[in-house]
């Protein structure tokens, strides 16, 4: 047997394209968020509330990632912002190359904030850097308070955690303090928001924090 010793990161090619994306975003002066969560936690609803909050104040563009359909892009298009849909056709996550290719179809003139809504999945997207400035993970109360324990990778890499659907807490066994402490044990630096897209609770706080990060 002869042995070739290499020690290479498996996803180095993705990381290289992500670095290229990051340099492009930086040159454009665009702050980029990679929004991740399991399916149905409310990513698109939070995105809609965020677009409403910044309407007329800040130019935002959106990349929608889904396994099938452009239903989410249709929802976002109602807000008259530049939006492009990536359909992965079965793929469980977005990769840096998909984002790089999608940028060609996005009018970025004057855009300060780009939000990439990843495919709903708490496992696979955590391995793939897209070139974003930060990952934001959404966990909804209906998913239970043990999600961070089951999917630590996603919480480890995030800068902020949005706990969504807090208006449903009275009807659920999910304990907010348990969910928070589980997440903070994995990532003590997480900035935590508690939101409801129905009552609008927490949305202004989340948007204000986002605005602070933009002006940094």
């Amino acid at each position: 047997m002869s042995v070739v010793t290499i020690h290479r990161k498996v996803l180095e090619k993705n990381d290289e394209i992500a670095r290229r994306n990051r340099a492009m975003f930086s040159a454009q002066g665009t702050f980029v968020i990679n929004l991740v969560s399991s399916p149905g936690s409310g990513k698109t609803s939070i995105l809609e509330r965020t677009l409403e909050y910044f309407n007329g104040k800040l130019k935002i563009a959106v990349i929608e990632g889904d396994v099938q359909t452009d239903l989410d892009a249709q929802r976002i298009a109602r807000y008259s912002v530049p939006v492009v849909q990536i359909v992965t056709n079965g793929g469980c996550h977005l990769e840096a190359k998909l984002v790089e290719d999608a940028m060609v179809n996005l009018d970025m003139r004057g855009v300060r904030l780009l939000i990439i809504e990843n495919v709903g999945n708490l496992v696979c997207p955590s391995n793939y850097d897209l070139g974003e400035a930060m990952k934001v993970v959404v966990a909804s109360t209906t998913e239970g308070d043990d999600k961070p324990l089951k999917y630590p990778g996603m919480f480890r890499h995030a800068s902020a955690l949005i706990i969504n659907k807090i208006d449903l807490l009275p009807y659920l066994s999910c304990k907010l303090d348990v969910l928070k402490s589980n997440a903070l044990n994995i990532n003590p630096a997480l900035k935590v928001f508690e939101t409801s897209c129905t009552t609008m609770a927490g949305i202004p706080e989340w948007c204000a924090w986002l605005e602070q990060n933009l002006s940094r």
């Binding site: 070739v4 290499i6 498996v10 919480f155 903070l184």
Partner: protein
């Protein structure tokens, strides 16, 4: 199921590291995979085998070195392992900790059968 795309990335790395005429001699691709890398080993092995079947790499299989998740507390200097990916020190409660291992996703070594030895 991102194991399929991870398996393809591993195959790409093998192609870049071994001359084309020696690909058929590759027997083992050694990987280091951390407990928190988010990869299901069985699924990765299956994906790799499915992708190389009928190709020059058809004789190759993956061998996985599983790396536990370990943190070291910078305050009390102790190391701890846990399956949840907790980075808070379980002893002193400190958050000034360093992840020592458990997030790896690496191709470490490629083993090729020695063709000359085969001939002799």
């Amino acid at each position: 199921m991102h194991e399929l795309s991870i398996a393809q990335s591993i195959i790409d790395i093998v192609h870049q590291s071994v001359p084309a005429e020696e690909l058929r001699d590759v027997r083992v691709v050694k990987l280091r995979i951390g407990a928190l890398a988010g990869v299901v080993p069985e699924s990765l092995e299956f994906s790799f085998t499915a992708l190389v079947a009928g190709t020059a790499l058809g004789n190759a299989s993956v061998e996985i070195d599983h790396v536990p998740f370990v943190i070291q507390c910078n305050t009390c200097r102790q190391s701890f392992s846990n399956e949840y990916g907790f980075v808070v020190c379980p002893d002193c409660g400190g958050v000034d900790t360093k992840v020592l291992s458990g997030t790896e996703l690496q191709v470490v070594e490629i083993e090729l059968e020695d063709v000359e030895a085969e001939a002799s």
